[in-house]
Amino acid sequence: MDINSIRKDFPILNRNFIYLDSAATSQKPRQVIDAIRNYYENYNANVHRSIYSLASEATEIYESSRKNIADFIGARDNEIIFTRNTTEALNLLSYSLQSKLEKGDEVLLSRMEHHSNLLPWLRLESHGIKVKFIELDSEGNMDEEDFKSKLTKNVKLVSITHVSNVLGTINNIEFFGKMAKENESLFVVDGAQSIPHLPFKINDYIDFLAFSGHKMLGPMGIGVLYGKYSLLEGLPPFMQGGEMVKSVSLERVIYEDPPVKFEAGTPNVEGAVGLSAAVDYLKKIGMDNIRKHEYELGKRALELAESNKLIEYYGPRDSRKRSGLISFNLKSKKYDRIVKDLQSKSIIAGKLIHSHDVAEFLGDKSVFARSGYHCAEPLFKYLGINGSVRFSWYLYNTIQEIEKAFESLGEINV
């Protein structure tokens, strides 16, 4: 993997900064930007409906993008529903599945879920569905024994994240998925943080999978819900309107077959085209190579975190169990002294410097990192910390960038 030539593909990296927020959104290579421009300059028309040749070409491009993205995860194209993002994909599922769940049924999630894989399920509580949570061990892994004990016959659905966007934990979805299947529960995977970073193929134990295009070099506003075709056939649509019907009279509506049944309205064709180009780019580099590169960066990040006594980091201690990010807090030097001088038991900024302050400092040094709750506020309450700083990297980041980012942390003098 030639990192210098990869970096040349990303025009934004010509600006002088270290971008360590790819878990929030990735940067885009020229190939993706060009594919979107090419679509608008040569092929733009509304898809699925009009008869003229340009509309057929646009439809062909849209549907071949779907096929390409399906191949990337080892699925069939009629199992790929385009959505805006992971959040919309999981909302679609929650609303469509609602009619299949009954009062007293249970949904099992984990303590490490992003709000996107939490709130769509919590809303079902008002319909009499109980939501339960798999506890975590001290290193931020899901507790398998706790999972087994909570996987009762009432659990009709298990929905967990493949990779935690806070802890970086790579969860053993095969274990959870197979157990869920044995229990005859539906198994849903939030792949927002894994599909962009790890080699992945759909397996029989996965019923539904959600991911976002913009975290995997594609544009914003395009995401995917994969669903087993036989399951999609039995679900009612999420939204109604244009495109998703075969026939409409005032007495009777016949819906399209999946996936179009779930894509009401004019779809985001440029998004699908851009995501397809992103998938081509990832395939060209190779997901195994990307994982290997991110793992090397992760190993270095962990070494640097462990060698700095002021850093408290979260998640597994073993790099092999982690994807491409590290969340941490920095302990303060000065505020401890102030508190001590005042002989006060109350603490300002705690023993940890507030993550927003650290991110502000890093921003001054052109190191761009995320701070706060990372849309997983209940996880932080569970861990008993008030947010964290997060470095997250991708195929275009270098070991030198990771080292420079940790070096900058050492210059914080409060």
């Binding site: 102030i338 300002i348 927003h356 302050d357 502000e360 008030n386 003098n413 409060v414």
Partner: protein, 120 residues
């Protein structure tokens, strides 16, 4: 001077602490960040004679609370609550990014939420 140089070089906090005999004790919480600042204000004939703060908040909120209390000590409480957010931000020694305006304004907004807020 960068924002961080300002924060890094900010001296000891002048107004950190508690005032047991305070006439106004009020807790303020930041939006979406879990930060908490407590203000303690001692009045004499409507004039702020002394003011302290403590809590658990980011450095920007903490420094802002220190600056804010230094500014309002000696003022009439009814005038202190009238300080506008814009004028406070303009006077604040550094420019803050949109994402952190709430941190800087936390002490002012907290005071405006006190019983004297009606004089705003």
């Amino acid at each position: 001077m960068s924002n961080w140089d300002f924060i890094n070089n900010y001296g000891d906090l002048r107004n950190w602490g508690k005032l047991d005999s305070a006439d106004i004790k009020i807790e303020g919480a930041g939006t979406q960040c879990g930060d908490v600042i407590n203000l303690y204000i001692k009045l004499e004939n409507g004039i702020i004679k002394d003011a302290k703060f403590d809590g658990d908040a980011c450095i920007l909120s903490t420094i802002s609370a220190d600056i804010f209390l230094s500014k309002i000590i000696g003022m009439n409480i009814k005038d202190a609550v009238k300080i506008s957010e814009n004028s406070y931000l303009e006077e604040f020694p550094i420019n803050v990014s949109p994402g952190r305006i709430g941190c800087v304004l936390l002490p002012l907004r907290t005071l405006k939420r006190s019983e004297y807020g009606k004089y705003c």
